[in-house]
Symmetry: C2
Subunit: 230 residues, 2 copies
């Protein structure tokens, strides 16, 4: 499948690597291709510069947000929360309309250091903002509640654990479920919360996520919802 991934940071790279390994035709989207390729040095996660990463993944394409969106049958938004709206504007409504987009972005505000607060929360969410701005894009909020390394390799953790999906379009949610199944997520590990307003709940998981990360000094954890025996 032709998939466009917005964002060339660690989340975009990890998702694109997985999609590439599964045989998809992937294009990463960025604001300025030349500027992104000109970056030198390792990022905070010790990952190589984008130029080196591209060389190591020769089948993955790199383009502008608009080129990646035009390329895609299915979209993944892996930008930062602050970059998400601008990325979609640059992608262009005509390239987005009618497509499903898995939105992984979180509205984290690091301007006052760690732990970050949220730049939108409680009575609104970034997922809803994106959906309102692009009403014919089918936003599915998901995967925003765990580290990217686990998004694409859930079996690195023992036993059952959960991710949360929400969005207004049932067909788009099914497209995303099918994709995530191919990443290793069992059907009962993907909890459908309902419409996109539920992004308020999943984005507001981040404040405890970042504190648990601080406590454990390790991002390799996830939430499991333990229920009474049915």
């Amino acid at each position: 499948m032709k998939i466009g991934v917005f964002g060339t940071g660690v989340v975009g790279q990890v998702i694109a690597e997985k999609l590439d390994s599964l045989g998809h035709d992937v294009m990463l989207g960025t604001r300025d291709v030349q500027q992104s390729l000109a970056r030198e040095g390792k990022d905070n996660y010790g990952r190589p510069a984008l130029k080196e990463w591209m060389a190591a993944h020769p089948k993955v394409k790199l383009g502008t947000f608009a080129e990646a969106a035009a390329h895609a049958q299915l979209l993944v938004n892996a930008t930062s929360g602050f970059g998400a709206m601008e990325a979609l504007k640059l992608a262009g409504e005509a390239n987005l309309n009618g497509k499903a987009m898995l939105d992984i972005s979180n509205p984290l505000d690091f301007s006052k250091g760690f732990p970050p607060s949220l730049s939108v929360c409680n009575t609104d969410s970034l997922g809803e903002q994106l959906q309102r701005a692009f009403p014919q894009l089918k936003v599915v909020k998901g995967l925003n509640t765990l580290t990217s390394f686990l998004m694409v390799a859930p079996r690195m953790l023992p036993g059952e654990h959960h991710i949360f999906l929400c969005g207004n379009d049932a067909g788009a949610k099914q497209e995303v479920r099918t994709l995530l199944s191919s990443f290793g997520w069992a059907d009962n590990e993907m909890i459908d919360l309902g419409d996109i307003t539920n992004a308020r709940g999943t984005e507001q998981l981040l404040p405890i996520w970042v504190r648990l990360y601080g406590t454990f000094q390790n991002p390799m954890f996830n939430f499991r919802i333990v229920r009474a025996e049915q």
Copy 2:
């Protein structure tokens, strides 16, 4: 131990029942004792009126917030989020100072229906507000992330699951841990996040909690943090 429980709703009753069954000397605190006893009929959980509940638990005392606070060596705040600050003001600083208080309250705003939003969040929390207002009270935020029936009976769920504690006073957190151990919580199920600012994280768990409650139509669930094998 002499324990004061603020709030006569379902959470206060369930906590008080458990404390009573463990042999503690419990006083429930309320704004107006006569008004609380005059209430008729069952609550939303099908529980009996307070008057009947008191008759069924003859060792539990009922008093004003001030009387319950004066009675107590250890405090539990089980009021609603909107009622918490007023309850502590009525309890009186002199009756609170130097004591540990397990704060279960959540700043839920039901004024626009279900699911509720939060009346304080993100860059502040109710736990912090209470701690700031009563600097010599030792606030320990905890138990606010699951239904009261599970707070006092964690083994009703299968396997390990977690609660989160935070507060500025190490001794007060230890008092609370000891109490919660007697409810059935294993030591490694009580995750200490650090100081009281971490209440932002745990209170902001409520938005997804209420949505999961809506999805499952059943409050008998809790969060388990699944970590990679150490």
